[in-house]
Amino acid sequence: MSSTAEPKAPPTNRVGLSVKEYGGSKSTLCVGCGHDVITRQITQALYEMSVPPHKVAKMSGIGCSSKTTAYFADRGHGFNAVHGRMPAVATGAMMVNPGLLAIGVSGDGDTASIGAGQFVHLLRRNVPMVYIVENNGVYGLTKGQFSATADAGSKLKTGAVNDLPAIDLCAMAIELGCGYVARSFSGDMKQLLGLLKGALAHRGTALLDVVSPCVTFNNHDSSTKSYKWAKDHEIPIHEIGFIPYYEEISVDYDPGTTQDVELHDGSHIRLRKLREDYDATDKAKALALCQEAQAKTEFLTGLIYVEPLKKDFLELSGVAGEPIVSVPDARLRPSKKALDEIMEALK
């Protein structure tokens, strides 16, 4: 079929960019890797949220997951740090330039093992960034060793059984005061997109623990991080809707079936309850939910906990607003008079 019509311009967002302009380099991960699905949802979320791409700071550590920051938003800067220590690099960058939008992508090895210390302190400080854990329960780049999020009793392809309990990153995050804690599945694109948009609008650290099966090393029948297991066991605790601050919002909703959460920028998250009486702003309930899920090996997904108005580290440190990196050199060096006064006091 031939056509004489002009090629139709792709749709653009509020900052005049098409979704393609939020893309990055070609993925080098295995075909069918869950991480690539997450990368596409990040790209889509950045586009739909009209994020200025040059403000994006893509932060990662080491591992398959950490490679993926090269696969989206190449109009932003990226920093592949050392293994498990991306939180520190992100913290330093955000302290001096709060105008950046930091998106960290990590894995279960990078976060729950070598990076556990930095992860804990990132959460404790509440550094503003989206922190995505692409969780597959194994080390991919070193060929299939168990990670610390592998469920007790799960088996490797070699038949080796994991005897240790899994670290529940969401429970840990809630305990440490994280104000946006979500669990999702790379196979549940709609939910993931909604959670990502909410995370981008949230102030403070937003943790997304996303089960993202490793097709090469951990997708077999005895794995609890396989596509099949996750699809069969996923129980969403609600359906998530995100209404950005610039859109009209209907004030009518039934509090019995829907929970409305207003974020600091005026955006709203609407959670249509699938689990009776679950309140995502109740810390004790959120922790109980995590513990219950772990005890029953249930795969509960959704926005487990949200505390939208919690102060972030930049506010607490007095550096929010105009970035320190933008202060002209002339205002960085105290005057001769100030130095002379200091010297006088030392005489």
């Binding site: 200025p52 800067h77 990226g78 960058a93 955000m94 302290m95 050199d329 105290p334």
Partner: protein
């Protein structure tokens, strides 16, 4: 009363000729007993009398109870290194009293609590028993204050014995307690009580005396860490991440204090300096790299154990080419490895820190003045060369009190290096060089250009930061030629750095066949040793290293001498080793003098080492 009358009144004549303004006072106390203020007051009063002075705290890794010593050296010639022999000992710690008395030089004066009954230990020193416990009961009514006030009594006794002007003591007390009337009163009462008791009850039988000079007018007293902190602040540091570790913590704390006052934006009132106390040293340097990558002048402070933890991030900083300033206040050992004692212990490990090939720029301050100026240099070099730069201070320099001229203001503009910060700068660069390639050497000096995240809205401005696996365009690659090309450029960058690091200070002595090479805090003892050796007839040339990598002056200096002694404050002769690698054929001219007992280097060690070498 004239001093001659005073002399007659209280001295037994003809014991020894007087020793004026040239001895050490050693105060032995228990840690946490509050003697720090007393020692500062005594030192400051001597300083105010115009006598060159230095103060060293030889302290344990402990908060309360373990023995600690404070040494005040008065030197009319201006020598401020540690002095091995003690002239005046003040024994306040029963635990160490016997050992302290045994180790002083013959002829020393020993002030001690009379109940310790030390006077039977030796017959070649002069003992002054003082009933400190009894006096403090009479002088201080508040029981809680007695433990601290007892230390002020020895200040009074020493002041009488050594002729310290009481008016200067009073000034020093006012400065110490920031003129808080109640504190000044109670402490002056204890000091006067000690002074009056001594005047009434003691007879001067030792030769040590202080006499007013005019060698300290206009000078300051400062610790090296505070000097570095002021330097960093004046360099416009924008971000500090740190983890507490002795002996570097006071640097971070002074910077935070100074910056709180002096680093508020004059227009907005907002701080122009941010600080994070990190969870460990790994995170501290990670934060610094993040801030440096984002375009800020960023730094951390640490000591040897922290340096080892920073190894991986330092390697990343080197290959990703991110500016960072790391102040290493060197100390002895890991874990419980004499953390409160000094050492030049991290020279080789830091020079090569990281894995794979890496050599770093190290600055080697030898005085509080250089702690100040080199802190400023460090930021300029870090940003110019886009790499971690290390300022290698040490505990002796960093935590002890040093006399100096007031630091001069620098109006040299900050060197922010090759940064394309605006769209216009980027466009001009692209017009000239076809494109912006993050790691391409367009100027031939090994230093590429960089952009900053979030500044320019253009695909042409962005790049991906990672380790050594990248090509000129910062794209990931494992191609052999790309890797090698990058390594060669980094080597070229270090060559360029040799033209920009602080040059050595060279004292050329006509006819001298013997040369000395030293660095850092060894300088004080080396300068003193050279004067004394000169008086004994051995003239020495001197080269003081101020940075690594080495610059051509060093090889020239060795060439010009027959024998060269390299002074290290470590067991393995770390700088000696680096010099041998650098010098090829001339390396055989080098001998190594090594001091490594945890105490600061003294002139005698240098003299003995050189004399022994010259006898061979």
């Amino acid at each position: 009363m004239s001093s001659a009358v005073l002399e007659e009144k209280r001295s037994e004549p003809g014991i020894r000729p007087p020793v004026l303004n040239d001895f050490s006072i050693h105060v032995a106390t228990a840690n946490g007993s509050g003697s720090q203020s007393s020692n500062s007051i005594l030192m400051r009063a001597i300083f105010q009398m115009g006598i060159p002075v230095s103060g060293k705290n030889l302290f344990p890794s402990n908060i309360q109870g373990l023995p600690t010593w404070f040494t005040i050296r008065a030197s009319k010639e201006g020598f401020i290194a540690r002095r091995r022999d003690v002239g005046v000992l003040i024994c306040m710690n029963p635990e160490t009293a016997h050992e302290d008395v045994r180790t002083v030089a013959p002829g020393a004066a020993v002030i001690y609590e009379e109940s310790l009954k030390l006077d039977t230990l030796r017959d070649d020193v002069v003992f002054y028993p003082v009933p400190f416990q009894k006096l403090v009961l009479e002088l201080v009514t508040d029981g809680k204050l007695r433990r601290l006030a007892i230390n002020m009594i020895y200040v009074g006794v020493a002041a009488w014995l050594l002729d310290v002007d009481m008016a200067e003591i009073e000034k020093a007390v006012a400065k110490q307690f920031k003129s808080k009337a109640a504190a000044v009163d109670i402490n002056m009462k204890a000091i006067r009580g000690g002074h009056d008791w001594a005047a009434k009850n003691l007879t001067k039988r030792d030769p040590f005396r202080l006499e007013r000079m005019n060698a300290t007018a206009g000078k300051i007293i400062i610790e090296g860490n505070a000097a570095s902190a002021i330097g960093c602040m004046m360099a416009g540091v924008q971000f500090l991440a740190w983890y507490p570790i002795t002996p570097s913590s006071s640097l971070a704390e002074s910077l935070i204090d100074y910056a709180a006052k002096h680093r508020l934006d004059p227009e907005t009132g907002k701080p122009t300096f941010a600080v994070v106390q990190a969870e460990d040293e790994l995170a501290a340097l990670g934060m610094v790299l993040g801030a440096g990558w984002a375009g800020a002048r960023a730094m951390t402070t640490t000591s040897g154990p922290g340096i080892s933890l920073m190894s991986e991030f330092t390697g990343l900083g080197y290959y990703a080419e991110v500016p960072a300033v790391i102040v290493d206040v060197q100390r002895v050992g890991p874990s419980t490895g004499l953390p409160t004692r000094t050492m030049q212990g991290d020279i080789t490990s830091t020079y090569y820190l990281g894995h794979g090939d890496a050599k770093h720029i190290l600055l080697l301050p030898a005085s509080v003045e250089e702690c100040y100026t080199m802190s400023m240099d460090a930021f300029d070099l870090a940003e110019r060369f886009q790499t971690p730069v290390f300022l290698m201070s040490d505990l002796d320099l960093g935590m002890n009190n040093w006399m100096a001229d007031p630091f001069p203001f620098s109006d040299r503009p900050l060197d922010r290096g090759k940064v394309l910060k605006t769209k216009e700068e980027l466009e001009a660069h692209v017009a000239k060089f076809r494109e912006f390639a993050r790691y391409r050497d367009v100027d031939g000096d090994g230093i590429p250009y960089r952009t900053l995240p979030g500044f320019i809205d253009s695909l042409a401005a962005t790049y991906f930061t990672r380790g050594s696996g990248h090509n000129e365009r910062a794209q990931y690659t494992e191609r052999p030629d790309d890797y090698k090309n990058n390594m060669d450029r980094l080597a070229r960058k270090l060559e360029t750095a040799k033209k920009h690091v602080p040059r050595p200070v060279v004292a050329k002595v006509p006819g001298a066949k013997v040369g000395v090479i030293a660095y850092g805090s060894s300088d004080f003892a080396v300068e003193e040793a050279r004067v004394i050796l000169g008086r004994k007839g051995l003239q020495t040339g001197y080269l003081r290293l101020r940075a690594l990598p080495f610059t051509p002056e060093t090889a020239e200096f060795v060439k010009a001498h027959d024998r060269v002694y390299v002074i290290d404050q470590n067991r393995d002769g770390q700088m000696y080793d680096l010099l041998r690698l650098e010098l090829n054929a001339d390396a055989s001219k080098l001998s190594s003098i090594r001091h490594y007992d945890g105490f600061p280097l003294d002139a005698e060690t240098v003299i003995e080492g050189i004399e022994a070498g010259e006898k061979r």
